[in-house]
Symmetry: C2
Subunit: 418 residues, 2 copies
C-alpha cells in the first residue's frame, strides 16, 4: 500500500419499515428509495425491515446498473429484513441468527417470527479487506417496562462476539443498522467496548441532519408522536460504526441524516431517518506498530460494562425461570383437571361441560408444555451469554491485575507479534 | 518464532453418550472417563453428548488439577452436549447454534431439543493462536431414508462457514467432533473442501485402533448391532481434523482409537470410540510465502461439491414446501370443521359429538399452524444456505474461468499480500 493511499467509501443505511399490508405508502416509498439510491450511487447501501422478498427483488432489479451485487439475508419465518446493495463485488457472505429474539406467543410484537440476525459481507477494495455488517436488534416497545431488555443485551453481546471473531483479518470493519439502543444504553456500550467500534456521529467533524443525530424524530409523519413525547428531539437508535483493524486508519468525513422528509419531495422514505456517511480510509504508518499494551485505567470501562451486562442477564434468567415455573404449575393444573374429567367420564357422569372441558385441558397442558420448553431454552441462551461474559470478565480482570495487558479487541495483534 | 520451533499437542475426543436415565452405566463410565483423562493428561479433551450439566460439573471438579480450564456450551432445551477441558488457559470462547436441526415434533429423535452447535475456544500456545472447534451434527437414523440429510448438509455448510470466517487470524485450526457423516458423505466433503481441513486418520503415518479408523464398531457392547450390519468393520463418523493457516505446518504424529473396550478394564467408555491424536506444529518457512494461485484443476472438486450441496438443499426445500402445503391444507380442513360445528351449535343442534369435536378442531388448527410456521422457517433456512452456496459457486467458477485465482480458503492470504 502506498504511503499516500486513501480511499473514499460512501455508505447508506436505512430501516425501511416495509411491512406488507401495514406500513403506509410502502410501494411508493420503495420506488422513491430506489430512485434515490440510483441517483446518489453509494458504494454500499444497507437496509433493514425489508420484510418482503418481492420488495427486495424489485429493488434489486431497479438498482442492478448502479449496484450489481445484492443479497437478502433469509431467516425466521418472514426473513431477517436485512439486505445489502453493493457497487463492488461481494467476495464472501454469511450471517448469524441471534439465539434469543423475543417470545413466539407475543404475536402482536412479531420479533420472534422475524429471526433477527447480523449479516456479514466481505469486500476487497483497493487491496483492503472490508467486513461490512448489517443488523437489526429486538425492538423496544416500552422503555419503562422493557421485557425484552435481557434479550437485546444478549443480542448485543452475540453481535459483538460475531464481529470480534469474524473480523480478525479485516482491514476495515463497518457496522450499520438499527440497534434499537440509545447511545448510552448497556447494549450499545457493551458492543462498542468489546469491539472497539467508533460511532460515526460522535467522530465526524461534519454532521448535517437531525438534532443530536436522532434517527426517529417527531417531524417524521410516520412516527408515533406519543412514543416520542419524552424525547423532544427524537431518539438515536440507528448507527454507522466503524474501525480500522491494522495498517490503515478510518475517519468519518461527513455524516448526514434525512430530517423527517423525503430527501427530494413527498413523504419520508421511512419512519426512521436514513444515515449517509462518507468514510475515508488512509494508510496509517502509526497503526503498523500499534502499542499492544493498555493500562489498567483503559481496561476499567470494559470491566464495568461486562459486569453490568452479566447482572442484567442474571435478572433476565430469573424472569425466565419464573415463567418456566409458572408454566409447570399450569401443566400440573391441566393434568389435575384431566384426571378429574377422566374420572367423571369413567363413572358415567358425562355432562356437556365435562366433554367441553376435556379437549381444552389437553390443549392447556400442551400449550403450557411448549411455553415451559421455550423458557427453559431461554434460560440456556441467557446462561450461555453470561458464561461468555464471565469468562471475558475474568480475563479482563486478570489483565487489569497485571496492569499492562492488551485489550481483547487487540489480542490478535499481540498474538501475531509473538 | 525460532526456525527449529516445534510444539506437541495431545488431543482427546469422545462422544460420551451421556443421556440421563437412558444411557447404560453412565455414572460408572463418567467416573472412568475422568480417571482416564487425568491419567493421560491430554492438552485438550473435547466431548460430545454430555447432556447433563451435573455430569459436566462433576467431571470439571475431578479434572480440575490436570485441566484447570473447562467450558460447557449451552444451547437448546437440554444443552448442546458439547464441553471442553483444557490444560492451557482458554483465551476466548464463543459458539454458533445451527439454524436447522431436525423437527420439534420428532420427539423420539430429540435432536431439535438439543440445539446442536459448534463451540470455539481460542488458545495461545507458545506464541501461536490455536482455534479449537468442537461440534456434533444431527444424527442419522436411517441411511436408506434419511429425512435429515438436507439439515445435516446445511449444518456442515454452517460449520464450514463458521470455521472459515472465525479462523482467519489463527495459526492452527483443530476441529473435533461427531459429524454423523461417513468420510465420503457430501457434508464431510463440503466441510473439507471449503475449509481445507485435513483428516488426521488419512494423514497420520502411525495409526492404532479399529479397522479403517471406525469410531462405531460392532465389538462395542453398547452399539446397536443391527444398525451396523451393513458395515462389518463399523462406521467412521467421529473426526479429528486440522490445518495450519500460516507460518506453521501441522502434522498428525499418531492417532489412536479405543477398540470397543475400556482402555484399561470394564465396559467401553461410550457407544462411540474415543480418538486420541498427537499433533506436531512446526515452523514452516515454505508456508510463509504460500503460492496464492491455484489452477482450474484444483478448483474443480470444490465446484463439484458446492453444486452437489446446492442440489441436495434444493430437494430439502421442495420437501419442506410440501410439508408447509400439507399443513395449510390441514388448517383449511380444521377451519371448515370449526365453521360446520359452530353452525350446528348456532342452530341449537348441540350433540355430545359436536361438543367433543369443537376443541380438537381448534387444536388441530393451532397445531397445523405451528407446523406450517416451522416448515416455512425451514424453507428460509435452507434457502439461506443455498444462496450462500450459489454465491460461492459463482465466485469459484469465476476463479476457475480466470484459471489462476486463489481458493476461497486462501483468499485472506491474497488480500494481505495486496
Amino acid at each position: 500500500m502506498k504511503p499516500n493511499f486513501s480511499l473514499r467509501l460512501r455508505v447508506f443505511n436505512l430501516n425501511f419499515w416495509g411491512i406488507p399490508y401495514w406500513s403506509k405508502h410502502r410501494v411508493d416509498r420503495l420506488q422513491r428509495l430506489g430512485d434515490f439510491l440510483n441517483f446518489e450511487s453509494f458504494d454500499l447501501a444497507l437496509l433493514e425491515e425489508v420484510w418482503s422478498e418481492q420488495d427486495f427483488e424489485s429493488l434489486k432489479q431497479k438498482l442492478l446498473p448502479t449496484y450489481p451485487a445484492a443479497h437478502y439475508f433469509r431467516s425466521g419465518v418472514f426473513g431477517s429484513g436485512l439486505c445489502v446493495f453493493s457497487k463492488h463485488p461481494i467476495q464472501e457472505l454469511t450471517q448469524h441468527v441471534y439465539t434469543l429474539n423475543g417470545y413466539p406467543y407475543m404475536i402482536h410484537h412479531g420479533d420472534w417470527f422475524s429471526g433477527k440476525a447480523v449479516g456479514l459481507l466481505v469486500l476487497h477494495l483497493s487491496g483492503l479487506v472490508f467486513n461490512a455488517y448489517v443488523t437489526h436488534l429486538h425492538a423496544e416497545y416500552s422503555r419503562q417496562k422493557d421485557i425484552y431488555l435481557a434479550h437485546r443485551v444478549a443480542q448485543a453481546w452475540e453481535l459483538a462476539q460475531f464481529i470480534h471473531h469474524t473480523s480478525k483479518r479485516a482491514d476495515v470493519v463497518l457496522l450499520c443498522g438499527d440497534l434499537n439502543l440509545h447511545p448510552k444504553d448497556l447494549g450499545c456500550r457493551l458492543l462498542k467496548e468489546w469491539t472497539g467500534l467508533q460511532d460515526a456521529y460522535l467522530e465526524t467533524q461534519d454532521f448535517k441532519g437531525c438534532d443530536e443525530g436522532c434517527t426517529m424524530v417527531p417531524q417524521n409523519c410516520y412516527v408515533n408522536q406519543q412514543e416520542l413525547e419524552p424525547y423532544p428531539f427524537g431518539i438515536r437508535i440507528d448507527y454507522v460504526l466503524y474501525k480500522a483493524v491494522s495498517g490503515v486508519c478510518v475517519s468519518c468525513k461527513t455524516l448526514k441524516t434525512t430530517t423527517g422528509h423525503d430527501p427530494h419531495s413527498g413523504t419520508p422514505l421511512s419512519d426512521h431517518e436514513a444515515l449517509m456517511a462518507t468514510l475515508y480510509v488512509r494508510h496509517s504508518p502509526l497503526q503498523h506498530s500499534p502499542s499492544p499494551t493498555h493500562g489498567a485505567a483503559e481496561m476499567s470501562p470494559l470491566i464495568t460494562v461486562l459486569k453490568e451486562a452479566w447482572t442484567e442477564l442474571g435478572l433476565g434468567m430469573a424472569q425466565a425461570h419464573r415463567w418456566a415455573a409458572f408454566a409447570s404449575c399450569v401443566i400440573g393444573l391441566g393434568l389435575l383437571l384431566l384426571v378429574l374429567l377422566c374420572a367423571l367420564v369413567a363413572r358415567g357422569k358425562t355432562s356437556e361441560v365435562t366433554l367441553l372441558l376435556l379437549s381444552p385441558s389437553v390443549g392447556l397442558m400442551l400449550g403450557a408444555g411448549a411455553v415451559y420448553l421455550f423458557h427453559v431454552k431461554e434460560v440456556k441462551g441467557l446462561c450461555r451469554a453470561r458464561a461468555e461474559l464471565l469468562h471475558m470478565l475474568r480475563r479482563a480482570r486478570d489483565a487489569e491485575d497485571l496492569g499492562s495487558v492488551s485489550q481483547p479487541a487487540q489480542q490478535e495483534d499481540r498474538a501475531e507479534e509473538q
